[in-house]
């Protein structure tokens, strides 16, 4: 697929964009906190991915791993540049509802998931930047400790400690919000 893209096959590129835009958008949204900023950041990430697509080596790992690694690095870099503060949360549930896709899930499940997503985001935004990063990478992105160590370049003990404190903090916040 990558070879097709590099040969100028727009359909192959469209397939990659469709397949990974949701994951990358979600990650961006968790870090930046608003849909507009997440949309811009996702677009920026895909632009960057396409310019470096010829650097992808199939023998070094799957395309999915490579893409998400590039995306994570770019999103975290962007988040650090922004001073580790999420953009002012201007999204309302109604504004976001406009973007929702009707998938195979029932409308009720979709609404529930959408509500939960917004609540989790609101709770995560209340965490300190260090705890938030580790929680997003561990509990939303489901990276291993070692992957987080490699990505953030901090000691494993610090990573574990931040994940632990982040979870306790997040649990308290969600309990106050009556989510759990």
């Amino acid at each position: 697929m990558v070879r097709q893209c590099l040969a100028g096959d727009e359909a192959a590129w469209e397939e990659i964009v469709k397949q990974y835009s949701r994951r990358i958008y979600s990650l961006a949204y968790r870090f930046v906190g608003t849909h507009e900023a997440a949309e811009d950041l996702t677009q920026e990430v895909f632009l960057r991915i396409y310019r470096t697509l010829d650097q992808y080596d199939p023998q070094a790992g799957s395309l999915s791993n490579w893409l998400m690694r590039v995306a994570r690095n770019l999103i975290i870099d962007d988040w650090r540049k922004r001073g580790r503060t999420p953009t002012e949360a201007s999204d309302t549930l109604e504004a976001h509802a406009y973007h929702l896709k009707s998938r195979t899930e029932s409308p009720q499940r979709l609404v529930e998931r959408r509500e939960l997503s917004e609540q989790i985001q609101a709770a995560i935004d209340k965490l300190s930047p260090e705890l938030r990063t580790c929680i997003i990478l561990r509990d939303l992105e489901e990276l291993s400790y070692q992957e987080i160590v490699d990505l953030l370049k901090i000691p494993e003990g610090t990573v574990k400690s931040r994940i632990n404190r982040g979870r306790i903090e997040l649990a308290k916040i969600l309990r106050r919000m009556k989510v759990i």
Binding site: Y145, L174, I180
Partner: protein, 305 residues
């Protein structure tokens, strides 16, 4: 384990990444502590909520927006761009590719730098003055390849003669070496002296044709006299003897000159003389006497009697 210690590892406990002893101590504490059980339940619930809410639905137009932002130009990889650079400078890029090439150039700082650098380098090469060629380089190349350089017409004959001489000088030197011995030089000089004598004494106009003409006349006169009986035999004999003695004198003079010059040329290199001659240690006077003997012999042998 107390509550504070458990709180430090509750995350790892939930992840299941604790060591077995730590996990056993934690489980023991949880058995007795309701607050920590509640904490663990909350942490697990939080993790589950995060997993459920991990994916956010992007806006409908996100994909189309991304595709619009990644036009054909940015789809070209830098490697493909690099391959087209040569064609770009040659002016051979087809119109369709050129469009993509240009868009990639606008979008990619790396390729902008590369192309600008190449353009600058080409310009510098073009502007650089040609290195002056040494004057005799062409001549040396021609000499080393075809053996003789291309030269103007007026110098051509001189070059041909030089080449002829270069090719044959060794052979000529060998031939001259054979001739330039005392015997060879003596033979040549005596021949020349004989011809000279005949020219002076016999020829009436100092030419070879004159020698032939006078010789024929004399023979005719001798034949005529002998027929008529008017000329006595002794007159003819005395005439021939006089000619012979004069010729002998000329030849001896030439031989003296020749042998004298040979002596002079041998004297400095006397060390190279043959062994027996050195051993004998003969005095110069003895040598002169021997030379006189030698000088006399060829002339006397050749002299017409």
């Amino acid at each position: 384990m107390n509550c504070e210690q458990f709180q430090d590892i509750v995350g790892e406990y939930a992840d299941g990444t604790l060591t077995l002893p730590a996990r056993a101590r934690s489980a023991e504490h949880l058995m007795t502590c309701a607050a920590c059980r509640r904490l663990l339940a909350d942490v697990r619930a939080t993790m589950a909520a995060c997993r459920r809410a991990a994916l956010v639905e992007p806006p409908d137009d996100l994909v189309s927006r991304i595709l619009r932002a990644t036009p054909a130009g940015s789809m070209m990889s830098c490697a493909v761009f690099d391959e087209l650079i040569l064609d770009y400078f040659e002016g051979y890029i087809p119109a369709g590719d050129y469009h993509v090439f240009e868009e990639h150039f606008q979008a990619c700082p790396r390729c902008q730098r590369l192309l600008t650098s190449i353009r600058l380098a080409r310009q510098l090469c073009h502007e650089a003055r040609a290195v002056p060629v040494p004057e005799d380089l062409q001549r040396r190349i021609m000499r080393a390849t075809v053996g003789i350089e291309r030269i103007p017409a007026h110098r051509k004959w001189r070059a041909i003669v030089r080449r002829w001489w270069r090719e044959r000088r060794a052979k000529i030197a060998r031939t001259i070496g054979l001739i330039v011995t005392p015997e060879g030089v003596t033979a040549v000089l005596l021949s020349l002296a004989t011809v000279g004598f005949l020219l002076v004494e016999v020829s009436d106009d100092m030419t070879l044709r004159g020698i032939y003409r006078q010789a024929r006349l004399k023979i005719e006169r001798v034949v005529a006299h002998s027929r008529s009986g008017a000329l006595e035999e002794r007159v003819i004999v005395s005439e021939l003897r006089g000619m012979a003695s004069r010729l002998n004198g000329v030849l001896q003079l030439g031989a003296n000159l020749l042998v004298g010059s040979a002596d002079r040329s041998r004297q400095p290199s006397s060390g190279a003389l043959s062994g027996p001659e050195k051993k004998r240690g003969r005095s110069p006077r003895h040598r002169d006497a021997e030379l006189q003997t030698r000088r006399g012999s060829p002339a006397s042998r050749r002299a017409p009697q």
